[in-house]
């Protein structure tokens, strides 16, 4: 079934301690699914489940967006010897909500001679692409909207579609800066997708599966970044670099390089349409960070060390969702760190980095990893 929210394969075993059972969301989702089935027909169950998932993801999306904007402002403020937002609410935590209202109420400026259909469509394509990607991400055991058996491929495929929105936005604004920004962004994302894909494939070889839940499950004995020796670590670094580039964030933010192109592809956008681009950028960052966390850092798996049973028990006690969020924000923090310390690259350097360095490194890395797996040299 397409809208099967239940991960059937892994039902909790009774021997596990109570908190492991408690933290397993598959029983909860099972229960909801069966009670809905009892109450109504198959058709309405599907509709109801779609609604529940949709509303939950929307809520999560909005919350994450709001929080990431706040986090970015605080992180950048601390890196720049500033305080950051500190007026609206304690420590300025309601600043982004105030910003949200500002963006909502701002005038949508119609652009003369713009292709208004595409101009209005573009932000939706960008945001829908990120919506679709977030559906496949496992937040905790049994807590994901769809568990495709090609989950990794799906996420890469869907997140790549956002670039179409960027290209459309740049072209339909009828603005030269926007067009240059869109061209840059197109060239950049199309190239860096390769590296993102290849670095994940390195881990897929190690995991032997493309299903995100299985990849996480395979890391029960150790995170892939530790399991896969040096190749996994190289893949992680390459993934960090290329995913930063794919999300158009500094130092790869050429598409919206404000000192060169004022704001690049979203120069002409205002109000809520601009907010869509803005939000999508942060959600894309969240998505790539959570893929990094899932594929390299063990997803919602706790941090366990060999035979330190006491330590491991304490770690197990922390809910998996917290682990997952913690790892994701760790990666996000690294990406913010990049942005606020490095100067921007130039377009030719950006492409050189990808085609002359990252891609060959990646290909060799895949080979080494395949060799390691064949020889059984990994942990």
């Amino acid at each position: 079934m397409l809208f099967d929210i239940v991960d059937v394969n892994s039902s909790p075993s009774l021997s596990d301690p109570w908190w492991k059972v408690f933290y397993d969301f598959s029983s909860l989702t099972h229960k909801i699914d069966s009670s809905l089935h009892n109450a109504m027909s198959q058709f309405w169950t599907t509709i109801a489940e779609m609604l529940i998932i949709g509303v939950l993801i929307l809520l999560f999306y909005a919350l994450i967006g709001l929080f990431l904007v706040y986090a970015e402002r605080k992180v950048c403020a601390f890196m720049q010897n500033r305080l950051g937002p500190n007026r609206v609410g304690p420590f300025g935590i309601f600043q982004t909500i105030a910003d949200l209202f500002k963006l909502l109420f701002k005038e949508l400026i119609p652009i003369k001679n713009a292709d208004s259909f595409l101009f209005n469509l573009a932000p939706f394509i960008v945001i829908i692409a990120s919506f679709m990607a977030i559906a496949a991400i496992p937040f905790a055991k049994g807590l994901h909207a769809i568990d495709l058996n090609i989950g990794v491929l799906y996420v890469i495929a869907v997140s790549a579609m956002g670039v179409i929105g960027v290209l459309l936005a740049g072209w339909s604004s009828n603005n030269k800066y926007s067009l240059i920004g869109a061209m840059r962004s197109g060239a950049q994302i199309v190239s860096y997708e390769l590296s993102v894909g290849l670095s994940i494939i390195t881990i897929v070889i190690l995991a032997g599966s493309m299903q995100l839940s299985e990849i996480v499950e395979a890391q029960r004995t150790g995170w892939f970044i530790f399991k896969g020796h040096i190749p996994a670590f190289i893949a992680f670094i390459v993934f960090l670099v290329s995913s930063t580039a794919e999300t158009n964030r500094g130092p790869f933010d050429l598409a919206e390089a404000e000192s060169e192109l004022t704001a690049g592809y979203h120069t002409e956008y205002s109000g809520i349409k601009f907010a869509f681009f803005f939000l999508a950028e942060y959600i894309n960052m969240f998505i790539v960070a959570s893929i990094a966390a899932t594929v390299f850092l063990g997803g919602w798996m706790p941090f366990n060390v060999g035979h330190w049973d006491g330590f491991n028990h304490v770690m197990d006690f922390v809910p998996p969702f917290v682990w997952y969020i913690g790892k994701t924000f760790f990666v996000i923090f690294i990406m913010m760190w990049f942005k606020w310390t490095f100067p921007r690259l130039r377009i030719d350097q950006l492409l050189t980095l990808e085609w002359k360095y990252l891609l060959p490194i990646n290909l060799v890395n895949v080979l080494i990893m395949a060799f390691l797996v064949l020889m059984g040299w990994h942990f």
């Binding site: 950048c76 010897n81 500033r82 130092p251 100067p343 921007r344």
Partner: protein, 374 residues
Amino acid sequence: MEEKVKNITTDEQQEYVINMGPQHPSTHGVLRLVVSLKGEIVKSVQPHIGYIHRGIEKMCESITYPQIIHLTDRMDYLSAHINNEAVCLTVEKALEVEIPDRIKVIRTIMSELTRIQSHQLWWASFGMDLGGLTCFFYGLRDREKILDIFEETCGSRMIVSYNCPGGLMYDIHPNFQKRVKEFIKYFRKILPEYDQLLSGNVIFHERSKGIGKLTLEDAVSYGITGPSGRASGFSCDVRKHEPYSAYDKIKFKEILFTEGDTYHRYIARIDEMWESMNIIEQLIDNIPEGPYAVKMKPVIKLPEGEYYQRVETARGELGVFIISDGNKSPYRVKFRSPNFVNLSVLNHIAKGFKIADLVAIGGSLDLVIPDIDR
């Protein structure tokens, strides 16, 4: 299908012309660059200026000499003190007034502080041009410290107007020496941080080395002075060649490089900050006692003749050319402003580079637009 045919056009029409400015984040003011592009490659840059042309030279013809000082602040507002000094020196030279050492030393210290704060702001905005937004806050943070010193002594932070013909407006604040020494101590520790943040970065090296090369010959022919000219090996430091104020009494290096690319224009300014700190350290403990101003006539009238004074501002050589007909206001004043001349080379060195390089080159020339327009 006919439209397709129409669309395939001649070489000339293929140029993609964009207007950078007058309101653009990288032009730092109301400078408009009409940039012809081919792809991302810059074919030509035509500066269009005059958006804040105030006619300072014309205004000077109807006001008195002490009043001119206050207009010069508004030219290169980052080198306000040095601009003031230039006019004062011209007037003093014309009247053949002997200036006591105390005034000379204080002027020199203030000039060098001005130079440091100007370079700090340049570093801040240059980092921002290259996309390193953190630089901006680092640079401004340290600049505040100098502005605080200015505020205490001059009563004003940026548009200081501290010089007047015959000396200074007021004596230095009692805390002045202490605070300057504190600043030097602080900034000697902080300046390596600038290197860590920007000059040591690989991306920065890639972005700036070999970009916008200016040969020595072109630098001289275009008259590029200041750190930009010295990065090309053009020995043009007025402080060395025609020492004024206290510069003949102190030891300092003229920062010279030969490469003349964006990177060396950058390094030249960083090194100049070190050198300025050396100059201040030589002088700050040895400010002689004496009056802070010479008694001048209430109405200053320059004898008939032509007077030319060159000084070294943070951006290059500022020339003040006064033609006097013996009245209390000058007959003609010409300011040879360094930015105006430095701007003229932009097309020459930015050609053939990418649009991102144009921003870097423009940043490395350190243009201040009000000084271009006057």
